[in-house]
Amino acid sequence: MRQKDTQFERIAYPVGFGLLVLVLWEIGVHLFNVSPALLPAPSAIGAAIASSAAILWGDWVQTVLKGALNGIWMGSLAGIALALVVDRFVFLKRGLMPVANFFAALPIVGLAPIMVMWFGFDWHSKAAVVAIMVFFPMLVNTLAGLSAADTMQRDLMRTYAAGHVATLMKLRIPAALPFVFTGLKISTTLALIGAIVAEYFGSPIRGMGFRITTEMGRLATDMVWAEIFISALTGTALYGLVALIEKRVTFWHPSHRG
């Protein structure tokens, strides 16, 4: 009764929907003579991307490669490392879990102005904001993942008289990986937000957030849209990359078995 989705449909429908929106947008802008300062047509945005490729590239390097990625690896490593340490102490784990969960729900991005004050205008302050934003979801997810192995599997390790390290390496870390990847996927999204917002509080004269504010001031909306397009593409690509690695590494998880 239920129709199975083919690979073709899974790609054609979303792409078709996206194209439909673009076409309607293009037609709408021309039909109603919308001012380009208000809403440029997709073709105009495309032209802006093509003509300012060098600027966009510089912004991308500043914001994504320097700010966001540095923050992601620092925050993730710190979160995972702390989780591994805390995991050894039940008391600490009980106390830290709710606190970290609460912090993960807070608008940590608000620390951006303070980080700019501490670490200056360049990418270091952006990476710092991103690292803190990424830290809590990574910590929480890794901790949850480390408790994911069930009692039976732990008992099995006990029947082998396996020590803490062996149990960790052979059982609990592999079992935790799907959770770690969930944390990483959340992190990629947060990282771009953090890196861009932090630029609103001060940046050198390049960076996506910087470009968006300055071009907005000049009412060069097509450039703003160009940055939005690049950031959207980056966000999706980062997420997709993590999802791809996840699929490779945790191929055994029920959600990935083909």
Binding site: Q3, D5, E9, R10, Y13, P14, G16, F17, G18, L38, L39, F91, L92, K93, R94, G95, L96, P98, V99, F102, A105, L106, P107, V109, G110, L111, A112, P113, I114, V116, M117, W118, T188, T189, L192, I193, I196, V197, Y200, F201, M208, G209, I212, T213, M216, T221, V224, W225, E227, I228, S231, A232, G235, T236, L238, Y239
Partner: protein, 292 residues
């Protein structure tokens, strides 16, 4: 039992964090103290240094009790109508959050219904819904402001609420898609033996079955709406709200204003999550669910 099992560990962690904070503050702020002393040609004693690090007016990192006293000054001691009152500013952020939350629920539930009921809807919308969350909303913020102004919104509340809704619809949608498709084949077949149409299946089975999922998503969603509200304030150059206080603190180089706003935001987020969590419990029980 609960005290030893949960409250005591939490308190320990919080106390440890506060201690670390004092340590870090003394360390970071002492640079300025030493600079001042060097300029004046004096060499302060350790207790003088520590004392000074805790009462600078523009510390790199204010100590917790400074933040608390700043919070006290800007909440209890200020008139609620004053622009400097964090209660007043918090109320504005709260209003944005709740509008965004409400909008997010409507959009989330609506999208979920389309996705569950229509195959074409699911195939074309689901990937875009996921993509929407990977796009940094802050980049879109200025555009949302001018477009909603052009549409005649008049205040910043509308774009800020849209930004909040953009972040908060997703958890609701994901949960509702799960919830609406949670009835299994047996339950669906039962209704088919009654000759029920799609409309009856939706309202009599899918909707009630989805309620626990719906409630479970609210806490996450309201937290996301709150983050969205603050992000919205930070990225639309708002002049009111807790995010705006952070902006002002940054522009005038007043760290105390930033920290107080940050703390107020944390407290407000906590209150929101607890309130919605409580509401969720009450609703769940009222609908005959088992207490969890």
């Amino acid at each position: 039992m609960t005290f030893r099992r949960s409250i005591l560990p939490i308190l320990t962690v919080v106390v440890a964090l506060v201690v670390i904070w004092y340590g870090a503050a003394i360390k970071m702020n002492s640079t300025w103290t030493f600079d001042q002393a060097a300029r004046a040609g004096t060499s302060p004693s350790l207790s003088e240094v520590i004392g000074d690090t805790m009462q600078q007016s523009r510390p790199l990192l204010p100590v917790p009790h400074q933040v608390v006293s700043e919070l006290w000054k800007t909440t209890v001691e200020k008139k609620i109508t004053s622009k400097r009152s964090l209660v007043y500013q918090g109320f504005i952020t709260l209003k944005t959050t709740l509008w965004g939350f409400a909008l997010g629920i409507v959009i989330g539930v609506g999208l979920a219904a389309i996705i569950v009921l229509s195959r074409i809807g699911r195939l074309s919308l689901m990937p875009w819904a996921i993509i929407s969350q990977t796009i940094p909303i802050v980049a879109l913020a200025p555009i949302i402001v001018i477009l909603s102004n052009a549409a005649g919104a008049g205040t910043l509340l509308v774009p800020k609420a849209i930004i909040a809704a953009y972040l908060s619809f997703f958890p609701v949608m994901v949960s509702m898609v799960k919830g609406l498709s949670s009835p299994d084949h047996m339950q669906l077949d039962l209704l088919r033996t009654y000759g029920a149409g799609p409309r009856a299946v939706f309202w009599k089975l899918r909707v009630p079955a989805s309620m626990p999922y719906f409630f479970a998503s609210l806490k996450v969603s309201v937290a996301a709406a709150f983050v969205g509200a603050v992000v919205g304030e930070l990225s639309t150059s708002a002049i009111a709200g807790l995010g705006a206080r952070m902006l002002i603190g940054s522009q005038f180089g007043e760290p105390m204003i930033m920290w107080a706003a940050l703390f107020a935001a944390a407290i407000l987020a906590g209150l929101l999550i607890v309130t919605i969590g409580g509401l969720e419990q009450i609703l769940r029980r009222a609908m005959g669910g088992r207490p969890v």
